[in-house]
Point group: C2
Chain length 364, copies 2
C-alpha cells in the first residue's frame, strides 16, 4: 500500500501512454482529469492486489469510445458517483476499490480520478497490460469473467446497465449507446471479486507504468549509454524503424479511430520506408513491405529525441518518430489470446508471430 499524488501521476501517465501502444488517448487530457481530482480531494491509496480481500467487490473504471472525441467532449464531475451508485445498488454491497482496465493515456488516469473523488483505494492491476480498442479484449475474458453487469454514463446524466450473454455482445450494445451519447462515455465493467482479480489480472501495472514514465523522463541522464540505448534497454524494446511522418490517413468510424501512418526513413533507416496501421491502437508495423510486428505485441511510436510516446491522435506530418516493439503480456500469446486480439481479428491477413522471432532475421 502506498499513496499516489500529483508527482506519481506525471510518471504513470507517461509510462501508460507508452503501454497504450498508440491508443488509450491523449495522456495530457487524462492527466488533467486525474490531477484535478487529486488537487481537490487529496492523494489516492494504491493497493497491491494481494492486499484486497478475496470477496471484496473490485470495479474497473474506464472511458469507452474514440479518444479524439473525448478531447472535445471531456468528462464532467458526476460520472463516477453515478457509476458507483448504479453498481453498488445492483450488487447490494459497497465497492471496495476501483482499478484500471487498461494502460493508456486516458484509461490509466480516470480510475485515479474516480478513486480520489469517491475516497476509494485503487488496485495496482489491469486487464490488458497495454490498451486495446474493444471491451471484450481483456485477460478476464480468457478467464471466463463476464464484462457485465456493465454500467455506462455520459456527462449529461444518462446511464445504462447491461447484462449480456457474451462479452462480444456487451461490446455491441455498449458501443451502440456510446455512439448515441456522442462517441465517448464513462463506464464500469468486469465488476469482480478480489480473488478473480488476483488470478487473471496483470498485477503491478500501475507501478510498471510509473517506472517506465520515470525512465523516459530520465533517459538522458543514464551513464555510459546513449539515450536511445537507455530507452531500449529499460523498456526491453525492439527498435523497428526510425522515420519522419510523411502521411497520416485517418477515419473516425463506429466510435473508433482507424488509420495508417506512413514513415520515410531517417538516420540508419534513410532510403527505406515503413507504415503502421491502427484501430485506436497500433496493429501492425510494416517495413519495406515486410511485417515486423503485429498485435498483441505492443507497437509504440516515440519521439526520436525525447522518447515521449506519440499516440495516434497526435500523429502529424513532419514529426520524427521511432517505432518500437514491446513484448505483450504472456497470456495474450495463448491460442485464446490470439483469437481475441491477434492480427486476424482486426482484419490483418497474417498469422501472429512473436515480435522477437519477427525481428530475429535482421533488417530483411
Amino acid at each position: 500500500m502506498r499513496k499516489i499524488g500529483i508527482a506519481e501521476v506525471e510518471d504513470i501517465a507517461l509510462g501508460a501512454a507508452l503501454l497504450g501502444a498508440g491508443g488509450g488517448g491523449d495522456p495530457y487530457i487524462g492527466k488533467l482529469v486525474a490531477m484535478g481530482a487529486l488537487k481537490e480531494c487529496g492523494p489516492v491509496t494504491l493497493l497491491d492486489p494481494q492486499e484486497v480481500p478475496d470477496d471484496a467487490l473490485v470495479v474497473p473504471i474506464a472511458m469507452m469510445g474514440a479518444p479524439t472525441i473525448l478531447g472535445e467532449k471531456a468528462i464532467g464531475g458526476g460520472e463516477y458517483k453515478t457509476l458507483y451508485d448504479t453498481v453498488s445498488q445492483f450488487f447490494g454491497k459497497p465497492i471496495y476499490a476501483f482499478m484500471p482496465i487498461e494502460a493508456g493515456g486516458v484509461n490509466s488516469m480516470l480510475p485515479i480520478a474516480a478513486a480520489a473523488r469517491l475516497g476509494l483505494p485503487l488496485v495496482d492491476v489491469d486487464g490488458m497490460g497495454r490498451a486495446f480498442p474493444e471491451l471484450q479484449m481483456v485477460t478476464f475474458t480468457i478467464g471466463g469473467v463476464s464484462a457485465t453487469p456493465m454500467a455506462l454514463t455520459d456527462e449529461k446524466g444518462n446511464s445504462a446497465i447491461f447484462r449480456t450473454i457474451t462479452n462480444k455482445w456487451t461490446e455491441e450494445l455498449a458501443r451502440a449507446v456510446t455512439m448515441s451519447c456522442g462517441g465517448s462515455v464513462s463506464v464500469s465493467l468486469y465488476p469482480m471479486e478480489g480473488a478473480v482479480m488476483k488470478k487473471y489480472g496483470v498485477c503491478g501495472i500501475v507501478t510498471r507504468s510509473q517506472k517506465l514514465g520515470a525512465a523516459i523522463r530520465q533517459v538522458k541522464q543514464v551513464q555510459g549509454m546513449t539515450p536511445e540505448e537507455a530507452f531500449l534497454s529499460f523498456t526491453e524494446g525492439f527498435k523497428l524503424f526510425k522515420g519522419k511522418i510523411c502521411d497520416v490517413l485517418r477515419e473516425t468510424r463506429g466510435a473508433f479511430n482507424f488509420g495508417k501512418v506512413v514513415l520515410e526513413g531517417i538516420q540508419e533507416d534513410k532510403g527505406r520506408s515503413a507504415f503502421v496501421e491502427f484501430q485506436n491502437e497500433n496493429l501492425t508495423c510494416t517495413v519495406e513491405g515486410r511485417i515486423v510486428a503485429t498485435t498483441p505485441d505492443l507497437i509504440c511510436l516515440v519521439d526520436v529525441e525525447t522518447f515521449v510516446p506519440v499516440p495516434t491522435d497526435a500523429l502529424k506530418y513532419g514529426k520524427r518518430v521511432m517505432a518500437v516493439g514491446l513484448k505483450c503480456f504472456p497470456l495474450w500469446r495463448s491460442p485464446e489470446g490470439i483469437a481475441l486480439v491477434g492480427p486476424r481479428y482486426f482484419g490483418c491477413d497474417t498469422d501472429y508471430i512473436p515480435l522477437e522471432e519477427r525481428c530475429k532475421g535482421g533488417k530483411d
Copy 2:
C-alpha cells in the same frame, strides 16, 4: 375486474389493429403470442384502473423496433421473466400488474402474454389510445413521467436497463440497442405507481379495442344500415378515400418502417387519387393534393369489403381499401401533445388541424 381468454383476445387484437392506425405490427403475430400464452397458462385478469392501489407498481410491456422485423425474429418465452426480474430488482418490490403502452396489433397483445406467463393481472389502460412509432410519444410524457428506468431484453438473453435525463434520450439509447439486437426487442418502460397510471393513462382502452373488434366482426349483421354505414357509425370514423393500392414505397431505416402508399380511386372516388405516408403508423392522408388528415388523429386503412384493418406491413398492390380518420385522444390535441406527435415532428410541412375541421369542407 374480468377475465380475458382466447375469444376476447380475437376481438381485442382486431380492434387494436384499427387503433394501431396502420402501425403496431401484424395482429396475426401478436395474437399467436398472446393465444399461445393463454393456452399454456390460462386466462388473464383484466383490472379496471380504479381497482389498482395508488402505490402499486404498474409496468407497461411492449416490443420496440420495426414490426416487419418482429415477423422474422418472433419472441422467445423467457423475455417477460427477465423484464420482471430486472424491474422488480431495481425497485426492490414486486410488480403488481402489467399494462399495454399502446394499442396495436402486437403491443396490445404482448402484455396479455406477459400477464398470462407470470400470473399477473393486466390493467385496462394504455398511454396512447392508438400506436405511435417512438417511445416518448405517450400521454405520460405530457404528464412529466419518466420512461426510465426502462428495461430491455432480446430473445437471446441480452438485457439492459436505462436511466435517462429525458424521454427523448431514452428513445435514442434504447433505439440504438434495439438496432444492435437485430431490430426488435421486448421492453418495459414508464414503470409507475397506480395513482400516476390513473391520472394520465387512456383508461378503458382494452375494453374499447374489444368492442371495436366485435363491431368489425359483426358489421354485416346490423339492421337498417349498409356494412360501411355501420362501420363508420360505430367507429365514429370520417371516410377519407376509397381506392385500389397502385403503389407501395417502403424503406426500413433506423428500426422504423417508412413509406408511402398510393391509391387510385374506386366507386365514389373513381378518377381521383390519394396517398398516405407512414412511419410505422400512418402520418398523413392526402386526397387530390389536399391533406385531409394528419397525426395525431388516426388514419386507418381498412378492407372495403370486410372492414378489417390493413397494417402498413400488409399493404400490397391491388388491394382495395378505405382510408378512415378517427379522432385522437383529446390530450394529444394540446400544444404539448402536438409538439410531441404533431405533423411537424415527423417532418410533414403542415400545421395540425383537427380531422373534423379538415373534413368539414367536403370533397374539395
